[in-house]
């Protein structure tokens, strides 16, 4: 569905999502017309969804980020759906993932400080439905962080 030119364009766009179209065309070795036609096509195909901004929460006063690994009580038929629906209601939950493996779900939670996190944990997170076990991983450092894939 995608050819080498498309992939080359995506590679350059991944490394510099905000580059001007003229620069991108030059790097990818295509004309501006070809570039815009290719981009339109990839948008239509749904391959290219857009350019998102990743919020740096500490700049907005949220200094703490915790990853909560959760095991759900699978004897409850609707445990996953009920848990996810309730987690969506907590504004400080910025990411919800589900897995096949030794944990069932993971939440990324941000808080202003440890006191705020404590309150959130007790009042909003531990009270989420069907939790069998919960375990926290505190992030020390982000060593590599890319949405890039080897296209």
């Amino acid at each position: 569905m995608l050819d080498d030119t498309d992939r080359r364009i995506l590679r350059y766009m991944q490394s510099e999502p905000e580059a001007a179209m003229a620069i991108l065309a030059e790097r990818a070795g295509v004309t501006a017309t070809t570039l815009s036609r290719r981009l339109d096509r990839m948008r239509d195909l749904g391959v290219l969804r857009g350019v998102r901004g990743e919020i740096h929460w500490p700049a907005l006063g949220y200094a703490v980020e915790v990853s909560l690994r959760i095991t759900l009580d699978k004897t409850q038929a609707r445990a996953f759906d009920a848990f996810i629906a309730a987690a969506r209601e907590v504004p400080e939950v910025i990411e919800i993932q589900t897995f096949l493996g030794s944990v069932d779900a993971r939440l990324s939670v941000i808080a202003r400080d440890m006191k705020h996190y404590q309150a959130l944990y007790r009042e909003r997170l531990l009270t989420l439905p069907h939790i069998a076990d919960i375990e926290a991983l505190m992030q020390v450092a982000r060593v590599k962080s890319e949405s890039r894939v080897p296209v």
Partner: protein, 151 residues
């Protein structure tokens, strides 16, 4: 800490969804002139509200069907240099993120692959060949959603 009013918050929400939106279009949606909107965007960006702009690609359409989170425990702490491990793991193209965490593991990796056998190749040839890898735990991602967060 940055002081944001309601319009700033709306701008952060909109840019998080689409970093390529123009100041003119955003201004029209929020009842601001183009220059006023541009100044607000500039202030937000300069304050470091956005960590990065990310190209949002449909990984399945690009035939990356599998995302796996790997928990890595280092074998011989003290003898393996963390810097060596971090440099080597960050150089693997299929490894999207590397987080240094406190808890059950030392590192948490996000790995993309075309399918399970491609993942096996990455795991055996690249990850297990890294200096100092002790224990590994894998969780296959089933679903993922990014939430807007408390903004």
């Amino acid at each position: 800490m940055l002081d944001l009013d309601e319009i700033d918050r709306a701008l952060v929400r909109a840019l998080a969804q689409d970093m390529s939106a123009s100041a003119g279009a955003l201004g029209r949606a929020l009842g601001l002139s183009q220059p006023a909107c541009w100044r607000r965007i500039k202030r937000l960006r300069e304050a470091g509200v956005f960590r990065a702009a990310r190209l949002d690609l449909d990984l399945e359409a690009l035939s990356f069907g599998v995302t796996v989170f790997l928990g890595v425990k280092l074998a011989t702490k003290g003898r393996v240099s963390l810097e060596d491990f971090e440099r080597a793991v960050s150089a693997i193209p299929e490894v999207q993120t590397v987080e240094h965490v406190l808890g059950l593991y030392d590192y948490r990796l996000r790995v993309v692959a075309r399918d399970l056998s491609d993942f096996e190749r990455v795991l055996r040839r690249r990850i297990m060949a890294l200096p100092g890898v002790g224990g590994l735990e894998a969780n296959v991602l089933l679903s993922e959603e990014q939430r807007p967060g408390p903004i």
